[in-house]
Amino acid sequence: MPEQTTNDTPVLTLAGARKSFGAVHALLDGRLELRAGEVHGLVGENGAGKSTLVKVLAGVHAPDEGVLALGGQPTVLGGPAGARAAGIAVIYQEPTLFPDLSVTENIFMGRQPLRGLRRIDTAAMRRRTRELFAQLGVQIDPDRPARGLSIADQQLVEIAKALSFDARVLVMDEPTAALSGVEVERLFAVVRSLRESGAAILFISHRFDEVFALCDRVTVMRDGRWVSTDPVAELTVGQVVRRMVGREVSQLYPRQDTQVGDAVLRVRGLTRAGVFDAVSFEVRAGEIVALAGLVGAGRSEVVRAVFGVDRYDSGEVLVDGQRLPRGRLAAAMAAGVALVPEDRRQQGLVMELPIERNVTLTRRWSLSRLGLLGPRVEREDAHRWTRLLQVKVGHLSDPVSTLSGGNQQKVVLAKWLSTNPKVLIVDEPTRGIDVGTKAEVHRLMSQLAGEGVAVLMVSSELPEVLGMADRVLVMHEGRLVEEIARDAADEESVMLAATGQAGRS
């Protein structure tokens, strides 16, 4: 236990942190000051550098420049083990547990209590796990494998891990993203009691209500740089949003009015056991429909099923009145459906392949002549589309991984827009890209809708949902619970529906 710190002695400070990956500058000026007994909020748009900053604190990345000080002493962590030894615990967005090992082992990996002959004291380990879980007020069997735990339970295991080595600093990277209301409350109770015991907690979240409810101070980041740090009492949501975005929100969502045509995409009673249940909706030509809800509500799963990536148990998907065969992606593509997936790096692009190959990957057959596909055809086609979407590229033969996040997303869009789709499904279209590109992507979507394309957009960013959509469909725990027209949609109505409280208030 460190000496009873006053609120003026920072437990951890980071100044002038800088980190680049090749041409990508993930962090240009990271600053942070954490005090004992405070919950410190960190907000910023995706791509603002929060995750990189977290990894610097976790010892995963060594900063190219900048100083990290613990209790006033400049420190070099030298790896994850060093960070842990320094009393820093990190809970990632996606918890990093070992699926094959028991919960107890996950908590104590590398630090198991020992008995004679340096043996692991299994009984003590299990006892301590029970104590930790009791402290946290959760009931998880210490002997069960981590495989199959819900995200919420995995996070609790991670917190138990942090407790087990008396962490002075606890970093939580979007811990509530996938939690239900009850789970969020439970987590907050745990966080507050940790604060009372003198820990410094860095809390990263996209939900302003949570940040304002829980945090003592808030740091805002934008484009890899520190913007401000203020006590929460002196801030309003509007101020924070403006600092994050760096400009007025309305500019970001250039929505033009369009002629809405007939329903192009119809989804009826789509069900997949345990994932989503009886989802029905339609999207008309020239319309942008947003699919909102919390992470884990089943939105991405629904659009993946519509596109034919995943199978579904019952229900049907119709495009222009024609029923799509279940789980046949090629048929969906042939019918004019396109999906810009959620995870750009894993699903949207083949990172190691050249830009030109990525752009033309969806049309390799239509571009081929007599079954042959020459590099010149690809190059010319890729050139046309990257210019059309204003992708900033050096050489088209460079791997797509050399591009910045925003330009990568444009390549994904090019890849799918080039198929000339009737139905464009975009899943988190602006996640992790810079503000300028974000506006471009939005303009592009508006333009497409204007040309009569039916656009279905999955988004977790409320301003984006409210700014872009003609209609908002809200999902909660696998069900479509609410459809809100543009005029009636505001933050409150969407959030209430998304947290399953629509109709109750």
Binding site: S20, G22, A23, V309, L329, A330, M333, L339, P341, Q346, Q347, G348, L349, V350, M351, E352, L353, R357, T360, L361, T362, R364, W365, L367, S368, G371, L372, L373, G374, K415
Partner: protein
């Protein structure tokens, strides 16, 4: 740009091959003769043949270790069919069908049940070799007519180049075109780098991989037919251990064991390098033990080399101010 090209592994392999050829011509007696190359090409044929589909399989991030066992099983079944009086023109399609079946079993286990191809094909490596012993036991069937067996080692008129080598070269061109200049090839590279992204781009990953295993099985059985004809002897142990040579040659040719990277030209150069070096050393009376060590070392270099090269390149790039 130029440096980038020179730094590529497959170009390097071609260069090393050229170096070996030149050096051996000067240093090794009997190397620069047409007869040496005739013999060499006969040795190259089965390995090159199997290496063609193997390249595609490894590029998609899978592996097929059962190829040599399929070769052996094909040979054993040929022998049994011949004993039972089946004419050779009928045996050939039957044997290819057998290879298709073997490949389909591999493909089914890998794509249908989602099992790792390494484990599956280690299993079928034992299974197919075991079955070939069950079929033919320890016997050898050797009374194939000379009109057939002689034909398969026949050189092109006026040369010592066996005509079968030209067939293999033709097949290599076909495989090379498929891999590097068709939509299918694009799909193979995409799924080898990231099969999820490939799926999201409308590529049927499982189906493609299944058929790739089938093709590999069929080609391995063709190699089995050639092997049996060349040595005029159908035996259950034919080609035992050949899978190691094929994998070694493919990796030596610059194909990444993790998938997604490689060229067919590089692989052909890898096969030629491996066999040329082996035969040249043999001609120079280097003992078999040393040849074994050389093969193993080449294999290790073929994976350590590109890795070290890329590490070095990364370091250089980092040192240069961005």
């Amino acid at each position: 740009m130029v440096r980038k090209r020179l730094g590529t592994w497959d170009v390097l392999v071609v260069a090393v091959l050229a170096l070996v050829v030149v050096a051996s011509s000067v240093l090794v007696d009997g190397f620069a003769t047409s007869r040496f190359w005739g013999f060499l090409l006969l040795d190259v044929i089965p390995i090159a043949l199997i290496a063609l589909p193997m390249t595609l399989v490894i590029i998609t991030g899978e592996i097929d270790l059962s190829v040599a066992s399929v070769l052996g099983l094909s040979s054993a079944v040929m022998g049994q069919l011949w004993l039972s009086g089946t004419p050779l023109p009928l045996i050939l399609p039957l044997v290819v069908l057998l290879g298709v079946a073997c490949g389909a079993v591999n493909g089914l286990f890998v794509t249908g049940f989602g099992l790792p191809s390494l484990a599956v094909t280690i299993g079928t490596l034992a299974l197919y070799r075991g079955l070939s012993y069950v079929v033919l036991g320890d016997r050898a069937v050797a009374d194939f007519p000379f009109s057939w067996t002689g034909t398969f080692i026949e050189p092109l008129p006026g040369t010592t180049v066996p005509w079968v080598a030209l067939v293999v070269l033709g097949l290599a061109v076909v495989f090379g075109v498929v891999l590097h200049a068709t939509p299918i090839g694009r799909a193979l590279f995409a799924m080898g780098n990231n099969d999820q992204a490939a799926t999201f781009s409308g590529i049927s990953v499982a189906k493609t991989k299944f058929w790739l295993f089938v093709v590999t099985g069929a080609v391995a059985s063709l190699a089995g037919f050639f092997w049996t004809m060349r040595y005029a002897s159908a035996r259950a142990d034919n080609g035992a251990g050949l899978e190691l040579a094929v994998v070694a040659a493919v990796l030596l040719g610059g194909v990444s064991i993790f998938g997604g990277r490689g060229t067919l030209g590089g692989v052909l150069a890898g096969v030629l390098l491996l066999i040329t070096l082996r035969n040249a050393l043999q001609l120079a009376d280097v003992p078999a033990d040393t040849l074994t060590v050389v093969t193993g070392t080449l294999l290790i270099i073929s994976v350590v080399g590109p890795n070290a090269a890329s590490m070095l390149r990364d370091r250089l790039r980092r040192r240069r101010p961005a």
